[in-house]
Amino acid sequence: MTTAESPTSDWLSKRQTYRHLMFGSVFGGVAVGLVLRFLDYPVVGEAVYWVGALAFFAVWKLSDVQLMDERDWELERRASLSALQIVGAVLVVSASASRLLTYLTEYTVPAFVWGALYGYIGLFIAFGLSYLWHRTRL
């Protein structure tokens, strides 16, 4: 039998540990940061937030095992596509409804709604630019 290149025997458990550490850092940092802000320690909360974010990148870039395999990337691709489709549908309907409400009624659409819609538009612009960049390389 031909043996493929064999990683260490505890590769899978190390991978799982590092993934828990990576995602735990960022989610823990955000959660603890929010709690500290709520408890009126905003600067400390911000510091904890950054520690969590930096720990995420440190584990991601410095760990000696591959934390994501091809199925993980495929899951991300599918999830990204679904999210973009949902956001796109929300944008198309909400933008039109907001304009119509403004034109046809006295209702004033709140500024945060327009902010969210422009944020969605920015997301699609970023997607388009990223797509064009990748198209030049593939």
Binding site: M1, T2, A4, P7, W11, L12, D69, E70, R71, E74
Partner: protein, 68 residues
């Protein structure tokens, strides 16, 4: 895609985790391939074939896939 991965894995007495370690992916990835919910990349297909000392065609049969 239809495949014989579980047959070859059982033949060699490997668990999904052991096979996953041998080819450098997660156990969930091997499970998804065996359940025909995920089609592996060419690179992984060749690694699996090398692991079992067979051809890719012996492991994977796209002709049997209804959606092909």
């Amino acid at each position: 895609m239809k495949n014989e991965l579980d047959v070859y894995r059982s033949r060699d007495g490997l668990s999904q985790g052991e096979l996953a370690e041998a080819v450098g992916v997660s156990r969930q990835t091997i499970n998804a391939i065996e359940r025909e919910r995920y089609d592996p990349s060419l690179e992984l297909a060749f690694k699996l074939a090398a692991q079992f000392d067979c051809t890719v065609e012996a492991l994977f049969d796209p002709a049997l896939d209804d959606s092909a």
